[in-house]
Every structure is written in C-alpha cells, then in structure tokens.
Amino acid sequence: MINSEKWAFSVNDPSVIKILGSACEINELIQKILKSLQSININKTTLFDIRLCLEEAFVNALKHGNKNNAGLPVNIEYSISEEEFKISIKDSGAGFNYRKIPDPTVNKNLLKTKGRGVYLIRYLMDEVSYNKTGNKITMVKYLGGNHADKPGKK
C-alpha cells in the first residue's frame, strides 16, 4: 500500500517520484495524475490521449525495461500547468533504440501484434524524446494556452 502523502502534489508543482515498479503502484499513480488533470478541466479527448500514453509508457517500462521485476524502481518526474502536461519515466533497464521498432502501420506489419504502443505515444503526444540510453522517455502534451492544436505526427 502506498503512503498517500508521498503522492500529494499540486498543479504547477513539479513532482519527482521514485517507486518500486509494481503494476498496482503505477496504476494508483496514473489515477492520481488523471484526477489532477480532470481538476483543471481538460477536454475528454486530451485526457484519453494522456491516459493511453501513460499506460503504454509504463507498461513498456515495467515489461520491457524492468523485465517484469517489481523490485526494480521506476523514476518519474512530472508537472502539470495550464499550458502543458510533461512527464519523464525512467526504468532500470538497459534501454532500447525506438528507431529500430518496425512501423506497425505498413501493410506487412498490420497482422503483427507488437509495436503499436510506441507508435501511439509518438502520435498522440505533442513532444516525445528519449535519453541516449533509451531507458527514459519524456512526453509532453499541450493543454491549451497559446498552443494551437497540433496535427501531430512525428
């Protein structure tokens, strides 16, 4: 069970969290982030996109990065402002080269079952970057302010 004070944060206050990578703890964190985003009245489509990208990124961190070892930590930094939601997720793994993931949208890959998670993150988020090792992803979703809706797609 997580100490709920550990997760307390407020909008505009960047938060840095290091958690052991159990699915249960991560689900709780995702719910807290989504609740905070709802409190600043972002639209349902944006909330859907963020939820999906968070879940995809965390699954990748736990399953591929930490090899399903719940004892390994996942480091998270995030901030929420009226302008943007930004999050970095770093697993304890050796990293990967996202450029080497086959494009799941080409005809020969449509029947494959892997590769869509990373593709969806890059499509739905406004900015996506990885550290050099490839075990840390940083995602940004614009929430409003001066940012126009991005047609996105990197």
Partner: protein, 113 residues
C-alpha cells in the same frame, strides 16, 4: 470487462463491455478461444460498450482475427466509439478489419456475402 454472446441467424454477435487494456485483454483472448474452438464462421464483435482500448487490446483483436481467418471464418467489428475508431485509423488497422457503424449494417453485410 463483460463479454456476452448472442446469435443472429448463423452470425455470432460478440459483445464486449468495459475497458480493453493490458489488464483485461488476456481474459478476452481466453474467452474468445471458446468461440474459435467452435469454429464460428460469421462473427461480429460489437464494441459499443468499449470506451477505452490500448495497444494490447488492439493486438488481441488482431490475434482474434487471425484465429478466425485460419479456419476460414469472417470477423467484423461494429459500433466503435469515435475515440476507439480513431485508434484503428491511426494504426491503420481499419485496412485490416471490416468496421461498421452499427451491428445492423454489419449483419446485412454478412447477408449480402
């Protein structure tokens, strides 16, 4: 997640309700095995009860389609929520699946074939 099945003439209607994600898609996969084992030839997966799906959910639907095709069956999707449908479009899975706005149209397409 809830799964229900019904028959419309010789067409199996497979209703899914709830989120289809990393937590629930294994159950869907296991449940669908009973359908594939019966070698149902005509299947419509009605997704009107699904408001959220992730890449594992999409992957499971692809696996289901492959299983059905393997024994010569046909599978169609119906009643996708806008956001769910958009994920099929983003990932180009709308090229792989026959997707219909509602169950009635999907049924009538089976009748034509």
């Amino acid at each position: 997640m809830q799964i229900n099945q019904a028959k419309n003439k010789d067409i199996l209607i497979y209703y899914i309700k709830g989120d289809v994600d990393i937590n629930t898609s294994p159950d869907m996969r296991k449940n669908f095995d009973t359908v594939a084992n019966r070698q149902e030839k005509k299947i419509i997966i009605n997704l009107s009860g699904v408001s959220y799906i992730d890449s594992s959910g999409l992957a499971t639907l692809v696996e289901m389609l492959k299983k059905v095709r393997k024994y010569g069956g046909k599978l169609k999707l119906s009643s996708l929520a806008d956001k769910v449908k958009s994920l099929f479009e983003i990932t180009k899975l709308e090229k792989l699946f026959e997707i219909y706005d509602n169950e009635e149209v999907a049924v009538s397409e089976f009748d034509k074939q």
